[in-house]
Structures are given as C-alpha cells and as structure tokens.
C-alpha cells in the first residue's frame, strides 16, 4: 500500500512539473497539442491525488498502524467517522486534502465548458499547477503521508478527544475549500495581467468562484466558532487567537474584493485595487497556513507536531514577488480608468469607504496578531495581544462597517442629493434611535452595545426599506401579490438580493455577538439535592452517575433545570475518561433558546458526591448561528443559476491559437 501511496505522490509531482512545462511550451510555441497534453496531465494529477487521498482514507479506516500517520492520529476504538476525519488531523494528511481540492479546482478550470477555446485556460492552469507543485514538494519530501514505522504498534495513539467532535468533520473541510477556492480568482487575475486584458471579464468569470470560496471560508470560520464554543479551553466561539485571526484576515479582504469588483464591472474603475485585493487575499491564505503550521505564535489551534512554516513563508514570498512583478509590469494599462466619480455622496464612494474599513480592519487584525513578534524583535520579550486589545480596536471598526452596510444599498449611484438621503434614511434613522432609546429605557447602560444595536437596526431597516420599495415598484405595474412580487423581484437580480440576504445574516450575527458580551458566570460546589441560582434559572443537582461507552467511561451529573419557576427539563454535563488518552475530556451541557444559552460544565467532584459546576448564561448566542445560516442561504441564492442575467461574459482579450 505504501508503494502505491508514495508512487502516486511522486508521480503526481512529476506530472505536475511536466504539465507546467508543457503548458508554458504550448503557450510559447502556440501549439494546441502541447496544451492538450498539459490538460490531460492535470487530469492525471487529480486522479493520482484522489488515489493517494482515498488510499489514506482506507489506511485510516482499517487502522493500518504500520503507517506513522495512522498510528499517530487513530486507534482501533475510534469511531469510523473520526478515523476518516483524522485525514486532516495532522500536517501531511491535511496538506493532502488541500492538494486534492487544488487539483480538483485545476481540472474544473482546465475542462470548463464556459472557458472552451479561451486562451486564458493554459495560463490559469499553469498558475494553479505552480501551487500544486509546491504542495507536492512538501508532501513528497517534507511531511510524507505514507511514511512507515520501523515496527507495527499494537495500538495507535488515538485522536485528541478535543478533535472528536462533529466540528472536526466540517470545519477543516469548509475552511480548506474556502482557502483553496481563492487560488482560482487569483490565477484568473494574474492571467488577465499576463494577457494584458484589462476589462472585467476575469471578474465576471470568477464571480461565482469567489462567492463560493467566500461562503466556504465563512462557514469554516462559523463552524470553527461553534465548535470552540462547545469545547472548553478554546476561549469561546471567538477568542482572537492567531489561528482564528489567520482565517479572518482573508475573509475581510475577500469581502472587500466582492464589493469593489462591482465598481470595476459597472464603471471600469479600481482595476489595480481589485487585483491587489485578490493577490492580498490569496497571500493571506498562505500566511494563515504559515501561522498555523510554523509555531511562531502560541495558539491552541495550531498543528503542533512539525515545523513546516518556513516552507510556506518562502512560498508566500515567491507568490507575492511574482504577483507584484506582474502587477507592476502591467500597471500602465490598469491605470487607464475610464470611470467617473461625480460626488462624494454616492454608492461608489460608500463602496470605497467599505473597502477602506475592511482593509483597515485586516491591518488591525494583522498588526495585533504579529505584535508579539514585533515586541520580541524590538524589546526582547513577547507581549500578549488578546481579547481586550482586539475588542477595543475592532469594535469601532466593525461598527463603522455596519454603518456603511446600512448606507450602501440605498444611496444612489453617481450622485446623491440631500432629498435622496432624507427620503432613504430619515425613517430608518428615527426608528433606530427609538430602538436605542428603548434599550436605555430597559436598563442597558453600556455605550457600545446601545450604539451597536442602534446601528444594526438601522442597517436591517434600510435593507427592508429597499426591498419594500422594489416590491412596490413592481406591484404598481404588475399588480402582483406581495409574495409573488418579492419572489420575482429577487430572482430577477439574484446577486443584489443575495447580497442583501447576506447583509441580513451579518446583522443577525452581530446581534448575537454584541449580546453574548453580557454573559454571566458562576462556579459553585454543591452537595446532592442542592440548588444553584443564576439569573432566573434554578438548577438542582440531583445525582452523579457513571456509564460506559465502548472502552471509555463517562461520569455525568443529572441536573434539573427550572426557569422563572417553569420546568425546563434535565441536562447532563459530562466528563469522559478515555482508554487511550491520559487527560479526561469535559463535555458541556447546553440548553439553548433564542434568548440565551444555559451552559453547564461539570468541573469536578468529591468522594461525598459534592460536585463543582461552572454555569454560564450566554445571551443571544443562537443568533450567531442563525445569522450564519442566513448568510449561507444568501450566498447560495446569489450564485444559484437562473434564467435572468445568467449570461457567460464574452472574452474580449487578445486572441491566441491555444486555449
């Protein structure tokens, strides 16, 4: 098996190199046969990567402990789903998955029907192959997935209990789909530069790619947050950990890119900026991988076993230097903007402000993330840059972003008048101020949450107003019923209304994020039958018991919960003791409602059955997850194919004999 595995890795590397050379030769000689050979080679690379990955899945699933990777991350008692998920638990396995997605995307582009006879294809494929070669060098020579041990252990080390969670199945996969997905628009952008095509063709062709990649990255981050929320020791759903920041930064720049491309598509402006943003986004995905795998910064989420970060740093430098060289060499062409800015009060300006805030936010996160290293370089010691710093710095930035989100949909293109502003924003602004006033009346005193909820309301209301106006405009002519008018309005411009749905999702998430800051926590040790009170919850600790799950022991507490005198039911926080892992694992019990989460942890117990619990009441957390569902629905709605406006853009760049 290891021969097949290693052979597929090395053969795929050799074929990737071959494909890259043959593509370059094909482009140079304008020989379609060579380009076709390159395409066939990319398909072969994908097949070999699939073989390697499925072989690894078989090895993991059947507990072939002679393989170092299998022995390091699985054990016989591990449920099959986690044995398979162990593929991305370690460095080499996760990089194999990454390479699988990359080669899959390369084949999708190389054999795309929409790109048939398009001269960009060999260039895009070559750029993606350059990335593939890097990953195969790592897999072939640095961290080998099919490495054998000198002996065959009876049992594997098992998977860290923290990773035995549904989050482990979804989070890395979605995150990688997002990370790798940005390689495609990046490759298109660089190709457009090489071919000197300065129109918006590449933007239109990659619109769906980018939204899908962005959606996966968002999902990856949210699922990661949900997992961290339920996993003790990871600091809640968002702790501004360097690894979390690493995936947040490309999300911010990709969001900026998704907005600024509209200016280029519509007005032919910001060409340099858009290309810079997609280069930055892709560079940040590599930088994130460097952070996760280098160990330069302390993180609970980092890969701990090897140090391959330096390779990613070199790769990052090569990508940035190459991209900047291509960008600078075509700068004179991109500079020739043909668009106009007529007023500071216009949708174009609000998009620019949106970009400024998003990129400024990216810098703030980047700066906070690397500041410990800066401090070490300057003063000789690392400082901690944690939650208080990021909350203080990012809160005003993100509030500014919500404000711009509120303005963008209703402000006019070209030029907005005072009347336009009054008509569009006066009513939402008044209602938002009333909402903020109500919150003060209800006893909220902290300035930030009041401001935040006021702005979120303003944002949601402007969107509702925009949709309401669209419906009314339709109904005046068509006399349709409201739901039909809404449906037809939305499907006729999926991109716009998909975007609005996404904004709604962000708004709902923001409600949850702001609300969850008002959490309450208590830690108490109580004997059996005693109660613990927190807010209007009364928790009665009834008994402590033990059960067996396979080879593992589970100690759990049975707790009866009442809220405001009403019976809620029972919850059972647990402690798991694994046969193959030294440290026990704490499983929290959560009772969720739209208003708040009751979060109970069994911290410890005494011989007389007194038990210690940590109990938290986390307000509005559910809205973070609900908002993310809405966001995904919006993304799917935006990219869903339909008969309206679903036209493949026409390539107007230079013609070539090869495609």
């Amino acid at each position: 098996m290891h021969i097949i595995g290693n052979l597929s890795i090395y053969l795929a590397l050799a074929l990737s190199v071959y494909a890259l050379i043959i593509f370059i030769l094909g482009i140079y000689k304008q020989d379609q046969r060579l380009v076709d050979s390159g395409k066939a080679a990319t398909l072969a690379v994908f097949i070999l990567t699939s073989i390697a990955m499925f072989l690894m899945l078989i090895l993991l699933g059947t507990s072939q402990f002679q393989f170092e990777y299998v022995a390091s991350y699985t054990s016989t008692d591990l449920p099959l789903v986690y044995k398979l998920a162990a593929l991305w638990a370690g460095n080499s396995g996760s990089l194999l998955l990454w390479t699988f997605f990359l080669t899959m995307y390369t084949v999708m582009v190389a054999y795309s029907k929409k790109l048939k006879n398009n001269p960009m294809v060999p260039y895009i494929s070559s750029i993606l192959l350059g990335n593939t070669i890097f990953f195969y060098i790592i897999l072939g020579f640095v961290t080998k997935p099919f490495g054998l041990l000198d002996f065959v252990p009876q049992e594997g080390r098992g998977l860290n209990p923290m990773l035995q969670d549904p989050g482990m199945i979804l989070h890395p996969v979605t995150l990688y789909l997002g990370y790798v997905g940005f390689a495609v628009p990046f490759a298109f952008a660089i190709t457009a530069l090489i071919l000197k095509t300065t129109d918006a063709f590449w933007l239109r062709m990659t619109r769906r790619w980018t939204i899908i990649a962005w959606c996966f990255l968002t999902l990856g981050n949210v699922i990661g947050g949900w997992w961290a929320y339920l996993e003790l020791g990871w600091g809640g759903y968002w702790a501004w950990d360097p690894v979390e920041n690493a995936s947040f930064m490309p999300w911010l720049t990709a969001t900026a890119y998704l907005h600024s491309v509209m200016i280029q598509e519509r007005k032919g402006m910001l060409k340099v900026w858009n290309i810079s943003l997609i280069i930055l986004t892709y560079a940040l995905t590599i930088f994130g991988t460097f952070l996760v795998r280098s160990g330069v910064l302390t993180s609970v989420h980092a890969f701990g076993d090897t140090n391959i970060g330096s390779y990613f740093l070199i790769f990052l430098a090569l990508v940035v230097i190459f991209s900047l060289y291509v960008l600078m060499s075509r700068y004179h062409l991109l500079k020739q903007d043909n668009g106009q800015f007529e007023s500071l009060l216009s949708k174009e300006s609000s998009f620019l402000v949106n970009n400024l805030i998003l990129v400024g936010g990216t810098f703030a996160v980047f700066w906070g993330t690397i500041f410990p290293l800066v401090s070490e370089a300057v003063r000789g010691y690392k400082v901690t840059v944690g939650i208080p710093f990021f909350n203080a710095v990012m809160s005003p930035i993100l509030l500014g972003l919500i404000f711009v989100m509120a303005i963008c949909p209703l402000i006019a293109w070209q030029r907005s008048t005072v009347k336009n502003l009054r008509d569009n924003f006066l009513v939402p602004a008044i209602i938002s101020i009333v909402i903020a006033g109500l919150l003060v009346g209800l006893g909220m005193r902290a300035a930030y949450p009041i401001l935040a909820y006021g702005l979120i309301s303003f944002m949601l209301l402007t969107h509702l107003l925009e949709i309401y106006r669209g419906i009314n405009a339709r109904r005046k002519v068509t006399k349709e019923a409201y739901p039909i008018a809404l449906y037809r309005l939305m499907v006729r411009n999926r991109r716009r209304y998909g975007g609005y749905i996404i904004h709604f999702g962000i708004g709902l998430m923001a409600i949850g994020i702001v609300g969850s800051a008002f959490d309450q926590e208590t830690m108490q040790t109580v004997p059996k039958g005693e109660t613990i009170e927190i807010q209007d919850y009364v928790l009665t600790y009834e008994y402590l018991a033990q059960r067996r799950e396979g080879v593992n022991d589970v100690v759990f507490a049975n707790i009866h919960v009442q809220k405001g005198g009403k019976d809620i039911g029972y919850i059972q926080p647990e402690r798991l003791f694994f046969a193959n892992w030294e440290e026990p694992h704490t499983q929290v019990a959560v009772h969720s409602t739209l208003r708040e989460d009751l979060y109970v942890v069994l911290s410890g117990w005494e011989s007389d059955e007194r038990a210690t619990f940590v109990i938290k009441v986390n307000p509005l957390v559910q809205w973070v997850w609900i908002g993310s569902y809405v966001l995904v629905i919006g993304s799917i709605f935006a990219v869903w194919p339909g008969k309206y406006g679903n036209i493949t853009p026409r390539y107007k760049g230079p013609k070539r004999k090869v495609s």
């Binding site: 600091g235 007529e342 703030a364 700066w367 690392k382 901690t384 939650i387 309005l489 830690m523």
Partner: protein, 160 residues
C-alpha cells in the same frame, strides 16, 4: 460652594468606605464576584487566559488569589501593580497603553485615518475636476442626463 461640595461628597465617601469595610469584614469577594472577574480578565495568566475556569487549575488559582487580595483590602490598581511587578508586561492580556506598546493600539487607527484622509482628498479632487469640466460644456450635461437615464433604465430592468 465649598460647603456644598463637602456636603455632597461626604455621604458618598461614607458609603464607599462603609461598603469596602463591610466587604473586607465579611470576606465578600469570591471567584464569582464581578470585581474578581474584571481584574482577572486583564491578566494573561501564563497563557491560560482563554482556558475555562471549570477545567484550568492555573486560572482558578488566579481567581482565588485575586479574591483573597480584594478581601485583604487591596484596590484594583494595587492588585494590577502587584502582578505587574511579578510578571511585567508579559503578564497582561493586552499591551500597556504607554511606551512602545502604545504603537500596538494607535497604529491601526493612524493607518485608517491617513488612508481615509487620502481617500477623501483624492476623491474630492476627482469630483471637483469633473464638476468644473461639466459646467464648462453643455454637451457634457447632455451626457450626464444620458448617463442618469441609462441608470434609471437599468434600475427599472431590475425590478421588472
């Protein structure tokens, strides 16, 4: 005026004093006290700051020590100084807002401010140039109308 100030401040001082005395006397602070949490949230706790109180002995020790210091009558600032003298800036959860560490806090806002100002100036110049150009030539006004009409037409197509 002075008398008014004294009359106003005296009860306040009395309330503050008596509340701190009663807290001290009864050993009021424990790990669940908001004051303890507020102080503890400022420390990096030797890398355990994001750990959970339920399962992290180091974090729990910090909480207990802070509660004890508060019960001894130490103020928040004294406790912060106490830990700072032991661990220095590395013991804090965020850089101090002084000296070199101040750059951590202000750099993002300086960058944003400068970029925002540059954007404003740049846009303003473009807009002013175009305005001058527009008012000089009536033909341009016609083009402007044409652009507006095309935008209206485009918006109409979106709705119907």
């Amino acid at each position: 005026m002075k008398l008014i100030k004294v009359v106003t401040l005296l009860p306040l001082i009395f309330i503050l004093f008596s509340s701190s005395i009663s807290a001290l006397a009864s050993g009021e602070y424990d790990i669940n006290s908001p004051e303890v949490k507020a102080i503890a949230s400022q420390f990096s706790m030797q890398g355990h700051e994001n750990h959970d109180l339920a399962t992290c002995a180091t974090k729990l020790t910090y909480y207990e020590d802070i509660a004890e210091l508060l019960n001894e009558g130490k103020s928040e600032q004294e406790i912060l100084d106490y830990y700072y003298s032991m661990y220095g800036e590395q013991g804090l959860r965020a850089p101090k807002m002084e000296g070199f560490s101040l750059t951590a806090w202000i750099t993002p806002f300086i960058i944003l401010g400068v970029a925002g100002f540059a954007l404003f100036i740049g846009l303003n110049n473009i807009v002013n140039k175009q305005r001058k150009h527009l008012y000089k030539d009536d033909e341009e006004v016609d083009i402007d109308k044409e652009i507006i009409n095309s935008v209206i037409d485009e918006e109409r197509k979106k709705y119907f």
